[in-house]
Symmetry: C2
Subunit: 709 residues, 2 copies
C-alpha cells in the first residue's frame, strides 16, 4: 500500500519537476507589464535579466512600446516569438486573468505573478485568486504567486524578481537553496546570507501560493542537483501530505532542511493567522512533524544560516557525542552548558586517552571538555597530538575546538590551521567545528578541509548540534514496515465500555472490564475479578463522572462492591436526573509506575496526529506533550517518549523501577496505526490514563474517550 | 540592623575604593621582571605602556639591565624612585613572594601579578598563594591575580596587561566595563566587543583571585563615574555576601550588570569545578540571586554584548510591554514568538489606535505586531504617523521596529531614520530598538537618538527584553522593611510535631495538630477536631512513614481514628522493630487548591537560601524550583512564585478557583526572614507540603522537616 503510494508520488513528482524545471531554469523569459524605467516593478526584472548576466532570451511585453530597455517589445505573449518558458507578470491585479489566458494561448508553461491585490486583501481578492488557480490547473500551467517577490536561479543569473536587494550586490552562487513564504523576509534573509558568505543555488518566494506552494518548492530543491542544503521560512501550510512528501524527499536525498517556522507563541500564532492566507495549524503539531522527518527547526534567521553554513561546509556528524576541545577552560564550560541545552552528549574520554593527554600537558583538563590550556599553543606538536587523541578516542562523533584568538595570529594561526586540517585527514569520520576570530586565509583553509568556523562558541555548538541531530537520524536503522490498521467501524459517539471494547477487539491492551447492568451484577463481577476493583457509572450524559459521585475506587468483594455501585447509581441520578444510564463499568484496580496519556486528534494540515504526554497536569496545564503525524513506527514512538520534559517520571519514578518504555512505544505506534487506518471515521481518541507498568510488565488502557465523525 | 550593616559596608567600600583607584588609575607603574623584548611577558606591558599613549611614569625593574625599551631600569622597587602606584609582577612564581616584600618596603599599594604556578597547579601552589594573600592583607597591599592577564583602563591608555589582543588594535574608549574570571575568555570577549564597536572603560581579569575578586571589581566599576554598564564572565564565587554587595551597588547605581555565568549544565558545572579554584556553587541558586538583584544573565558572549550595546545606547524601558512595529508581517510574527520566549508582553493596541492606523494603511495588521506592510515605506508620512500612534497608545513601554533593508536604501534610509528619531523626541519615554542592515550613517544617526540597531530581529528582541526587565525592576516600588526573625533555638534534630510547634510559635501558619501518646488519645483528638483527620506515626527513626504503614488519611470520629492509630503503631513496629516511637500526630485533613513546597538550605556561597516549587514530582523529578538568598520581601517572593513553569497550577488550577498567591508570598517571605535570623543554627528546613487555599483562604504548613547544626 505504502509502496504503491510512493510510486505514484514519484511519478507525479517527475512530471511536476519537468514543468518546474522550465520555470526555475527558463531558457526564455517574458516580462508582462515591462517598463522602460528600471525603478518600476515591471522594469526591474528586465533590468536584472539584461544587465546581470542571464544568458537566455528576454522578451518585454507591453502594448504601448516597441522597445523596452533596448530590447524589442511585443504587445502580448501570443504576439511574441516563442517558445517562452516563463512569463513574469507585473500588471495590475485586474489584468492578471487576461494575462493568464494570453499565456495559455501562447503555450507558456510557467508564470511568476508579482501583482498584489488577491487573497491578501480579503474575500473578493481570494475569489479572483481561486479562479486564477483553477484556470491555470485546468490548462496545466504552473504559477508562482501572486503577491510574491519572484525567484532567482543564481548560477544562471536568472533574477526573476523585483526585490531591490540585488542593487546591493548579487548573491554568490553556491549550494544552499532558500524558500520563503514571505517576500520581505526572504529578501532580508538573502542579504544576511550574502553577508555570511553563503553561496545560494535558488531563492524562491511563494507569496499567496495560489498554485505552487512552499512544500513543492522545497521538494523541487530536494531533487535539484545544484542544491545540497535547503533553508525555508514558513508561516503555515494547508496541505500536510504535500509538506510531508517534501520532508521525505529532503531526508531521502540526505539534504538538511532548516526551517524558521514562525507562530510558536500565542501572539505570534494569531499574528500569523491574520497575516497569511494560509492556515497556521497548531505549532506543536508542526514541531512534532519536523522531528518526525529530521527537519531542523531554527529559532532565528541567524540560526538558519549558522546551520546552513555548517551543513554546506562540514561532513555530517555520525551522532550526538561531542568532544569539546579548548585552549580556555572558561570557554570549555560555556560550550558544555550550550551542548547540554542543545541535546548533545559530552561523554568523558577514556582513561587511557586522558592519561595520554596528561603526559603531553600536565595541567590539562582531560575529561571532556579537553582543556589543553593556553600554554599548549606554544608547545609545538602538543595541540595536534591532543586533538588527534580526542578524535581517535572512539567516544565522540564530532569535535568543537575553541581556539581563542589564534585564528588572527600570524605565527600560531597557520600552525593551528595545519593541525586541525591534519586531524580532519587522519580522522575523516569526525566532524570538526572551529571557534575563533579568523583571518580570511585561516577561514578559507579550514573550510577547504570541511571545518566551519564560527566566532561565537555558543553558535558553533548550536549549529553542530543541529547537524548532529540530522546525522544521527540518517544513521538510525531504517524503520521496519509501518503498520496501518485495523480499520474499525467507529460510531459518532461511544460510551466508555464501547470504546474499550472496540480497542480491545483491535488488539490493544485494555483493562479487563465488565459492563454490569445492575449493582448486583457489579458485585458479582468484582467477586469474579478477585482483587480490588473500580466501579464507574456509564452514561453518555455524564461528562464529569467523579463530580457526579459516579466513581468508586479500591472496592473488594461482592458485598462492598454492590453497596458502592448502588451508591454510585443513586448519586448519579441525583446529580443528573435526566441522564440516561447505561450501566456500571467494573474493572480491576490497575497499578503501575506511571500514568500517561495517548491521544489522537485531527490536524487541519496533517490529518490524524498522535499525541503523547504524562497524565494529569502535564498535559493540560503544563503542555508537556509531543505530536506525530500518524502512522509512526516504534522507534519514532520511542523518540516521542524521550522528548517530554517529564521523562524522568518514566525512567526514574520515585520509589519504583523504570517504566516499560518498550511496551509504551509499541502501544503508541499501534494507536498511530489505528489512527491512520481510520482517518475518515475518527475524530478523536483520548486514552487517559494508560497505566505503564515496570519494565517487562507492559501497559494497560484503563479509560478511553472515542469520538467518530 | 540592616541599616547598620549597610553603613559599615559603605565605609569599608570607601576605603577599599581609594586603594583600588590607585591600582586602576595609577599615575606611575613599575614593571617587575621587565624585559627588553616586547614579545616577552615582562616586555609586553612596558611596550604597551610606553607606545600606546599612557601619560604616567613607567618604571622597569630588572636587576640585570640599566635601560629597558629606552627607559631607565632599576634593580628593585625599593631602589626605584617613588611614589609607585602600581607594580606589575611578571617574574617566575618562586620570586613573587620576594617581590611582594620589596613592594611593601617600597610603599607600593597595589600589585598586578601575571605569574602563574599558584593555586591552578595544585595544593603546593595554593599554599604559596595563601601566604601571599595573607602577607598582602597584613600589609594593606591590594593584589590582582596571580595567574591573570591584568587590566586596562582604556581612556587613560593604561594597558597593564600582556594580552596579545592589543596588537590587533586598541579598544575604543567608552562606558562599558568588563570583568572576567578567565583571561583567555576576557581577551576573546574584548575582541568581540571591539568588532561590535562597543566602547570600553575598564577591562579587568581576576585570575586566581588571591585577594581582589570578581565581586570587588564589579563593585568598584559600579562606583566608577566612567562606567555606565558592567559586563562580567564568572565561573563561581566563594564569598556570596561580597557578590551580593556588588550586585546591590550596581542596582543602586542604576547600572545594568550583564553576566555570562557558566556551569549551568551538569558537565559544565563539573568542568568549572575542576578548572577553577573557586567553588562553583549550585547554579540554580546563583540564578535566583541574579534575579533577586536584577542582574541580567546572558547565555553567550554574543548576547552579553548585545545587551551591553543596547544598555549603552538606549534609554531604559519602563516595563515589559513591547510594541512590535514591522514592514514585514513575517518578521512581526517571528519577533512576537521571540518576545514571548523572553518574557515580554505584546499587548493589543487600543481600538482607537488600531482604527487610526487602518485609516492610514487600509491593509495593515493593527493589533500588535503592527504590520504596516512594505508599501507604507513609500507612502510619505504614514510610517512616522503609525509609529507615533503606537508610541502614544499608552499600552507599550518600548518599540522594536523591523525595517527590512531600508537601512541600506539611499532614498528611504534617511527618511526612515528621521521618522524614528522624530518619535524618539516626541515620545522620549518610549525606548526604541531598530532592526535593519544599516549603513554606517544610518546606524550613527539612530544611535545618536539613543536607538540601538540590530541586524537580527531575535537578537534585538532579546536585548530589549533584558533591558526591559532591568528597567521594570528599577521602577518597581522599593521594598518595605525587610523582616528578619525571629531567632529560634533550633535543636540538631526535631520530630515533625516539634518542628511544627517551633514554626507555629514563630508565628507561621501551621496545621492545628495534636501529639497523641496513645491510640486512644489520638481518637480523642480526632473527636475534638471534628471533621476528618490524618494520623501519622512520630519517630525520628522512620524516614518513610507511608512505606512503614505509618500514615492514615481521612479518618472521622474517635472510634475509627483510634482503630487506625492502633494499626499504624502495629505496622510501624513491624516495619522497624528498633525504632523509637514518640507518639502519633493527629491533624485535620486540609484541603486547598494546590500543594507547594517551601524549603531553606545552606548555600556554600550565599548562606541560607529559600526555595519554592510546586509539590510532588515538580521539585525532585522536574526541578521546577526557584531560589533566593534570604531574607526577601513579599514582592520578591511573588516574583519567585511567578517564575515557576507550573505557575498555571496556582493561577488556573483545574476545577478550582485561583490560589491565594498573596498569602503564599507572605509565607515565603516570613520563612526567608526566619532563615536569615537563624543562619547560624539552621541547616535546612523543608515545608512539604504547604497547602494553598483559594484566594483569601490563606495557606497552611502541614508537614515540616527541620534540621539544626
Amino acid at each position: 500500500m505504502q509502496g504503491v503510494m510512493d510510486q505514484q508520488e514519484a511519478l507525479k513528482a517527475a512530471v511536476g519537476k519537468d514543468r518546474l524545471d522550465r520555470m526555475f531554469r527558463p531558457r526564455s523569459v517574458a516580462v508582462v507589464g515591462a517598463s522602460s524605467s528600471p525603478a518600476k516593478i515591471g522594469g526591474i526584472p528586465v533590468d536584472y535579466l539584461t544587465s546581470l548576466g542571464y544568458a537566455g532570451r528576454v522578451i518585454p511585453i507591453n502594448p504601448g512600446a516597441d522597445t523596452i530597455q533596448g530590447l524589442p517589445a511585443f504587445p502580448s505573449l501570443t504576439a511574441a516569438p516563442g517558445p517562452i518558458d516563463l512569463a513574469i507578470v507585473a500588471v495590475p491585479a485586474a489584468m492578471v486573468e487576461a494575462t493568464l489566458e494570453d499565456a495559455i494561448a501562447a503555450g507558456v508553461p510557467a508564470l511568476v505573478v508579482f501583482s498584489s491585490g488577491f487573497a491578501e486583501i480579503g474575500a473578493e481578492g481570494a475569489a479572483v485568486q481561486d479562479r486564477l488557480a483553477a484556470r491555470a490547473a485546468a490548462a496545466g500551467v504552473r504559477l508562482l504567486g501572486p503577491n510574491c517577490l519572484g525567484f532567482m536561479t543564481v548560477a544562471e543569473r536568472c533574477h526573476a524578481t523585483f526585490t531591490p536587494v540585488l542593487k546591493l550586490g548579487q548573491p554568490e552562487p553556491g549550494r544552499v537553496g532558500i524558500v520563503s513564504q514571505s517576500g520581505a523576509f526572504g529578501a532580508y534573509a538573502l542579504v544576511l546570507a550574502q553577508r555570511r558568505g553563503i553561496g545560494i543555488s535558488h531563492w524562491i518566494t511563494t507569496g499567496n501560493e495560489a498554485d505552487l506552494g512552499f512544500a513543492e518548492c522545497v521538494e523541487w530543491l530536494a531533487r535539484d542537483p545544484g542544491t545540497d542544503v535547503i533553508v525555508g521560512y514558513m508561516e503555515g501550510a494547508r496541505d500536510g501530505d504535500r509538506l510531508r512528501a517534501a520532508f521525505r524527499a529532503c531526508r531521502d536525498a540526505g539534504k538538511p532542511l532548516v526551517l524558521a517556522k514562525v507562530g510558536r507563541s500565542e501572539v505570534g500564532a494569531s499574528a500569523a493567522a491574520s497575516h497569511t492566507a494560509a492556515l497556521a495549524g497548531e505549532d506543536a503539531v508542526f514541531d512534532g512533524v519536523f522531528r518526525q522527518y529530521g527537519v531542523i527547526r531554527a529559532e532565528s534567521i541567524e540560526q538558519v544560516f549558522d546551520i546552513a553554513y555548517a551543513a554546506a561546509v562540514s561532513v555530517l556528524p555520525r551522532g550526538l557525542r561531542a568532544g569539546l576541545y579548548t585552549v580556555s577552560g572558561g570557554a570549555g564550560v560555556l560550550m558544555a552548558d550550550k551542548a547540554a541545552d542543545c541535546g548533545l552528549e559530552v561523554p568523558p574520554l577514556n582513561e587511557a586517552t586522558q592519561d595520554a593527554v596528561r603526559a603531553l600537558v600536565p595541567f590539562a583538563g582531560t575529561r571532556n571538555p579537553l582543556d589543553i590550556t593556553g600554554q599548549v599553543v606554544n608547545a609545538e606538536g602538543a595541540f595536534r597530538q591532543a586533538l588527534g587523541l580526542m578524535a581517535r578516542d572512539g567516544s565522540v562523533d564530532l569535535v568543537v575546538s575553541f581556539l581563542a584568538l589564534t585564528g588572527q595570529s600570524p605565527v600560531m594561526g597557520p600552525r593551528i590551521a595545519e593541525d586541525l586540517t591534519h586531524v580532519r585527514s587522519t580522522d575523516p569520520g569526525i566532524a570538526q567545528f572551529a571557534v575563533t576570530v579568523p583571518t580570511e586565509a585561516f577561514r578559507r583553509q579550514l573550510e577547504a578541509a570541511r571545518i566551519p568556523v564560527f566566532e561565537d562558541p555558543n553558535r558553533a555548538v548550536a549549529a553542530a548540534a543541529a547537524l548532529a541531530g540530522f546525522g544521527q537520524r540518517r544513521n538510525a536503522p531504517p524503520s521496519g514496515d509501518m503498520a496501518i490498521g485495523p480499520a474499525l467501524d467507529i460510531p459518532p459517539s461511544s460510551t466508555e465500555p464501547q470504546a474499550l471494547a472496540l480497542l480491545r477487539d483491535a488488539g490493544l491492551p485494555v483493562t479487563d472490564f465488565t459492563l454490569a447492568q445492575t449493582a448486583q451484577e457489579a458485585g458479582a463481577a468484582a467477586e469474579r475479578l478477585g482483587g480490588p476493583v473500580v466501579v464507574k457509572v456509564v452514561s453518555a450524559d455524564i461528562l464529569h463522572k467523579t463530580e457526579a459521585g459516579g466513581v468508586r475506587l479500591n472496592l473488594t468483594g461482592a458485598r462492598d462492591t454492590q453497596a458502592a455501585a448502588e451508591a454510585i447509581l443513586a448519586s448519579a441520578r441525583a446529580h443528573a436526573p435526566d441522564a440516561r444510564i447505561d450501566g456500571l463499568l467494573v474493572a480491576p484496580m490497575t497499578r503501575g509506575v506511571a500514568e500517561v496519556v495517548i491521544g489522537v486528534q485531527r490536524d487541519p494540515a496533517f490529518g490524524p496526529v498522535v499525541m503523547f504526554g504524562m497524565g494529569g497536569v502535564h498535559v493540560e496545564a503544563l503542555r508537556d506533550v509531543t505530536f506525530r503525524a500518524a502512522p509512526i513506527d516504534e522507534a519514532e514512538a520511542m523518540r516521542m517518549i524521550r522528548e517530554i520534559r517529564a521523562l524522568r517520571l518514566l525512567t526514574a519514578p520515585r520509589g519504583a523501577p523504570p517504566a516499560d518504555l518498550g511496551a509504551l512505544a509499541r502501544l503508541i505506534a499501534r494507536v498511530s496505526a489505528l489512527a491512520a487506518a481510520n482517518a475518515a471515521g475518527l475524530e478523536s481518541l483520548d486514552l487517559n490514563p494508560v497505566i505503564v507498568g515496570a519494565e517487562g510488565k507492559g501497559c494497560v488502557i484503563v479509560d478511553a474517550l472515542l469520538i467518530g465523525r
